[in-house]
């Protein structure tokens, strides 16, 4: 499995944001996208996920049969995609049923992110870092080979960051692909880095 982008450019409201970019990520590899604020990291991830149409070029997943990037990727955006009125467990159970291909049990996933005893609490009661960890647990409850992560460690403390790095390494060893936009080092060895230029690069 290989994620290939050729001459990929993106725009927002008619304004050129990034590109053209060429990159490829093979199974077991991670690509860390860094760059200043406004350099187009989030836009790039949204274009790769298929939420935005590229203004030029193309991005595709090779060796995945009929699957598109959208159907074989987990997208973790700035928002956590969880309902504050439902409990953590209800939220995760919903995403597990909706996204299909169940992977870990909900208790297991919560334990992996270090939140073993809070499944019964409404999501709105959690702190920022706990919310982020609960939404990282969403990546674990159903299986997707590609992880598209936008600032995944925002709000996490040092220990949770290390824990998350471990989860990402395990995902890569399973033959997964990771593309992450971030400011801080993610602590996954051997990840390639792509620096996005300034606003008009």
């Amino acid at each position: 499995m290989r994620l290939m982008a050729t001459g990929l450019s993106g725009e927002r409201a008619g304004e050129h944001v990034f590109g053209p970019l060429d990159f490829s990520i093979s199974a077991g590899e991670a690509l860390v996208v860094t760059g200043e604020n406004g350099s187009g990291k989030s836009t790039l991830l949204r274009v790769v996920a298929g939420l935005l149409a590229p203004s030029a070029g193309s991005v595709s997943l090779e060796g995945a049969g009929d699957e598109t990037i959208a159907s074989s990727a987990h997208y973790l955006g700035h928002q956590n995609a969880m309902k504050t009125a439902l409990t953590v467990e209800e939220n995760l159970r919903f995403w597990r049923d909706f996204e299909g291909e169940p992977h870990l049990e909900i208790d297991e996933a919560l334990e992996m992110v270090g939140l073993p005893d809070i499944g019964h609490l409404p999501f709105g009661y959690l702190s920022t870092g706990q919310k982020r960890r609960a939404s990282i647990a969403r990546l674990l409850v159903s299986y997707r080979p590609v992880w598209l992560l936008d600032e995944p460690t925002a709000g996490l403390d040092a220990r949770s960051e290390r824990q998350f790095a471990g989860l990402m390494r395990a995902h890569l060893e399973d033959g997964g692909l990771i593309m992450a936009a971030t400011h801080v080092p993610l602590g996954i060895g051997g990840a390639r880095e792509m620096v996005m230029g300034g606003v008009n690069a």
Binding site: A13, L51, E67, Y75, A81, A85, L86, F94
Partner: protein
Amino acid sequence: MLALLHRDIRLGIRAGGGALVGVLFFLAVVAVVPFGVGPDLNLLARIGPAILWIGALLASLLGLDRLFQADREDGSLDLLILADQRHMLAVTIFVKCAAHWTASVLPLVVASPLLGLFMNMEPVAILATSATLFAGTPAIAFIGAVGAAVAVSLPRGGLLVSVLILPLVIPVLIFGVSAAHGAANDPQPFLPPFLILCALTLFFAVIGPFSAALALRSSSD
């Protein structure tokens, strides 16, 4: 899909009590009419079906603008759009509409017989009005989905949604009220307008989700 239905119904009932707000609004609209019109029982009975329909229509517009906006704000909408290959977006929207109807419009249909008594309506007219509301209000939810999808990125799109969809729900109102009248007043027919009402609901159940899906896709940024 069933998971989405469950989640949305649970949210509709639990978060902010959307169902109760709608019923209270419905009650308020219908309860003030007799005071405004005056104590003419015959007149009240004659305009009863129309007042119930208008009240239910306005009450069911109340929560519509939040149909997709809440999902957009917490990022769920992105994931629903991305899941297109597993769950076609139009089907996802259909399920969301069904959940919205169950949680916030069905209580209005259930409450309508009681409010019909306020309007001095005959039992058969009350029954007919409830039946037409049951058959017709889903169409409002499906049309509303289109308006909600168009206005999803606007911070205060509530009024815009109502204005956008009002022209499209007027046929639903017309046939709903004329079917209810037909049941109570003998020379007028009940079945033809009722069947057209059902046809409208089925028609919008197909057109609505597809157009809403189109609008949502082009609005994601």
